[in-house]
Symmetry: C2
Subunit: 398 residues, 2 copies
Amino acid sequence: MTQLGPITEDPLGAFCSDSDAFIPGADSGPLHGLTFAAKDIFDVAGYVTGGGNPDWKLTHEPAQSHAWVVNALVQAGAAMVGKTLTDELTRGIFGENVHYGTPVNSRAPECVPGGSSSGSASAVAGGLVDLALGSDTGGSVRVPASFCGLYGLRPTHDRIPLDGILLQAPSFDTIGWFARDPATFAKAGAVLLGSTFDGLHPKNLIIAEDAFQLADPAVAAALRPHVDLIASLLGGSSNEVLSPRGLAYWSAQQQVLQGREAWESVGDWIDLVNPRFSFEVSERYTLAKVIQDEAVEAAAAVRKEIVSRMDEVLAGGAIVCLPTTVSPAPMKGQRVSDRHELRLKNSQLTSIAGLCGLPQLTLPVAEVDGKPVGLSLMAGRGGDEALIALAQNVEASG
Amino acid sequence: MTQLGPITEDPLGAFCSDSDAFIPGADSGPLHGLTFAAKDIFDVAGYVTGGGNPDWKLTHEPAQSHAWVVNALVQAGAAMVGKTLTDELTRGIFGENVHYGTPVNSRAPECVPGGSSSGSASAVAGGLVDLALGSDTGGSVRVPASFCGLYGLRPTHDRIPLDGILLQAPSFDTIGWFARDPATFAKAGAVLLGSTFDGLHPKNLIIAEDAFQLADPAVAAALRPHVDLIASLLGGSSNEVLSPRGLAYWSAQQQVLQGREAWESVGDWIDLVNPRFSFEVSERYTLAKVIQDEAVEAAAAVRKEIVSRMDEVLAGGAIVCLPTTVSPAPMKGQRVSDRHELRLKNSQLTSIAGLCGLPQLTLPVAEVDGKPVGLSLMAGRGGDEALIALAQNVEASG
């Protein structure tokens, strides 16, 4: 069991340094005795939700009440022991915050932890907490889970209420969580999803060929035995190219739609405050700001086609497997341009579930050069519980 | 006479707070007994040239020697008493630095001082120094001189050596200076230009109709008596539309060319460091980064036409007069979008000299609602001394 008071020592640099936020868990409940941390985009009453940016923090008032999801875990008995670092306004998947630093990835200390839920992943991976809340718009739970060797879910879109969080791009925003083991992961799932069975009986494993082709060959090879194990658990597998026009074509639609929504979420505040951002974050907002309406309309139309295509692939209870990230965590301190290329490549993997609102669970089954890398399972909308159950079976069979 | 030691009190917030830079003036010389400050883009041996950005400062080494222009003033007897604030990497004309604050405009305390040579203008206007060095790429001497009620020159391009300064866009970059009175201004000019007479005998005043139409009516009205005075000193005037296709068309060429050069100057550093900038500054670099080669080539061709047109206008020793800025200093804390519009409007005035490498001197002759606004005089290339002499005549006749 991890510490039940507020975080006083933070050797990983995972927590917001100016926050002593602590909420004791309810006296009883399924999570009693567990601790969790919350990414600093979740409201905690009495504290300013900082969003990983000093000017956001300076220009907002303390929250009046807890975010729905924070309250749900606390009511189930878990203690919230601190607020964790995030990429600025959740715009990033590597976890290097130019204002507050880079939380340590205990599993690969010279590498980034992944983001934007960087501090949450770091704190769980380093054993400072049992669970941690993150959000996933373009990969912000899945990527750090893959890089830090954790279980992490992007749930079905709209499955978990977004009340009391700093939104990025609402048609993509989801709340997810991290744990080191599938049993603890499932306990939180039962609370947050309100169920442990979703009626889905997974039947067939579909190996996403185009997704595996994107990954580094060493990653694909390291994941292969686990794919085979899952195929045997499900009673069979088949290979499929998800996107005949290419996954880059799909993720390009998300860039447009997510960019537009992100600008709509905070553009007025940016215009008013002229905040300090890293160049990289401002660059993304600037390119989002100039997206034209015609481009948005075209991308929205393509998005519908992508949703139909994935509905077809997942029909009848199929599960899709794919690499969570194309590589293990990269080294810290990359150039903006290098990070940009790697982000685009990873977003070809992460935007599938994002565009379609599908649940995707990453399992910390493999390593490459001693660094973790995750295998993802994706189900039809509402199949969150089935994925969690499957993860437990995989571990039991591994 | 102002203080001859290093600046110890800075009630205006004009100086870099972490710098005790001081260079005593030579024992004798034409500037002996005068003090000056240098914008923090000029090298001062032993100090890091900070450029108004904390990450620039953190990633650069102390200068090995003084900038040419700093040395020239010191050798002429002036003491350098401190380094002054600048807009980040000189990208701005309003003087609000999100990292270091906004130097006080003593003449209009609720308003911006103008930039990017904000601290230099503030320090001279507030009487902390006799002279101050700035740079002018897109208006960074002329605009703060107008807003703070000072004499300020953008010299002929290439007239004053740029050695030892943080460049922005070399085909536009110039070094200028500020003073409260034309006599002191002329003393520094004699040192920096090496001459007090350039062979130009100004003959006719050309009133730039399209430039005056851009200005607020109250500004045009306030400048009018001074235009008439100068016309009488020169023995006549005529009205002329400088740009038949519009001054916005001209300034659009500078946006492209200056943007490309600015990205070439620091783009690699930005890519390496991912610096913290205000959103506004990053936005300008991002839009500069994506400028295409074809656009640069087209703008370069138009620039040649503009140069020819202005050579024609200025032929025979003519002097052009125009408002320095479209308005007095705006209030502090404007929205990014409002500031953007105002910057574009002012750049229609400032880009004329910028594109053509022409000298332009602004005279603090007028006020609107108690706030200063400058009248500019522009000559053919090399006519710097004639402009300075004319400013002295105007004052003597006023």
